[in-house]
Amino acid sequence: MEPSTSSQQHSFQRQVEPELVARLQRGDLAAFECIYRQFERAAWTLALRLTGRADVAQEVVQDAMLKAYERARQYRGDAPFPAWLRKLVVNEALMRLRHDRLHVFEAFTDTQPDADAPELWTRADATALDRALNRLPDTARAVLWLYHVEGCTHIEIAEQFGRTVSFSKSQLARGTRRLRELLRTQSETTPCTMNPISNT
C-alpha cells in the first residue's frame, strides 16, 4: 500500500516479447509467470487506484491475471499485449465496484470546469496527493483515474459504469474539486513539502 520509491512509472507501457506471448497462448505456465512478474506491480497499482482497497485490489489482480492466462488465445495482437492486460484489470476492477457496491453514485449535477490555477497540482506533494486520492469517494476516484491517467473519454467511462456522459463529467468535476479541497486542507495542517512530484 505504501508508495514505492522507484521512479519506474506506467509499467503497462513496457514491451513484451512476442515469443513470450506466443508461449503464453500455448498455455506455458513459466511464460505466464514471467509476464505476471513483469506486470504484477502495475496491475496492483491500477487496481488499488480504482478500488481504493488493498483486499479488493488483490482479488482484482488475481482474477484479471487468471483471465489473462485462460483467455490468452483470444488476444489477437491488435493492440500491444500490456494494453490488453490493462483492460482486463480495469474491467475486473469496475465489475468489482459494481458488484460489491463499493461505490455510491452521488447525484452530482455540476459539470462546471474547474477553473482554478494549475499551480496547486504542480506543487503537490506525492504523498499528500496519494492520501487525498484515497480519501475520495470510490466512483469519483475511479473516474478521475480513468480520465486523467488511463486516457479514457467520457463516453468510454460512461459505458464502463453503465451510466450517462453527464454522470462521468459531473463525477470528474466534483472529484477534482474535492481533491483540491483535500490537498489544501492537508497543506494547511502540514506545510512542509517532503516529497515533491517531478513533472518533468
Partner: protein, 191 residues
Amino acid sequence: MHDEPNQQHMKGEAALAAALRALPDATPPRDGWPAIAARIAHRRRTRNTLRIAVPAALAAGVAIAVALPHLWPARAPSTTPRVVQRTAAPTRVPEIELGALRAQSQRLQTWVTALDRNGAPLGGSALAGAVALQDRIGLVDLQLSAATDPATRASLWKQRNLLLQQLGLLHLQPYAVAEHTRTTPDPTIIL
C-alpha cells in the same frame, strides 16, 4: 474573452493529469504468484477430472440402460388374458438426418472460427459469454463421443448447432453496436 477561463481549465487538467501520472507505483503487500499458480493447478485438476468423469458416467448410464431389462426378474405367467398394448415404436432417426446435422455443424464451426480469427475483439461481458458457450459446446462434444443412440445423437447435434449459432452471433455484436453508434450520435456530446 471567454477563452481565458477555458485555457486555464485545460492547463489545470493537464497539470492534474501530470501529477497523477507521476505518482509512484504501489507495492503489493505480498507475492501473488503462489496463489495464482495454485488456482491454475486447481482448475486444471477439475477440468481433467471432468474430462474423464463425464464420458465414464455417460458410458455407465448407457450400460445400465442396456443391462437393466435383462437383470429384471422374470414375472410368473399370468392366468388372466393379457391385454396387448401397442406401444409406439422408438423414434428412429435416419442416418441421412444425422449426416445433415453433422454437415451443418461443420459449416457453423468454420463460420465461428473465421469470425473469431478476423472479427473485432470481444468486450468483457461478451468475452465471458463466449467462454461459457465454448465450455457448453465442449460438454456437448463429450456427450456426443459417448452417445450411441441415434435419437440422442441427433438431439446433441442440434444442441451443438444452436450453441454455435449463439457463439457466432456474439462475435457479430460489436459490429451491430458500432453501426448503431454511427447512426445515432450521442446527444449529450457537445462538439
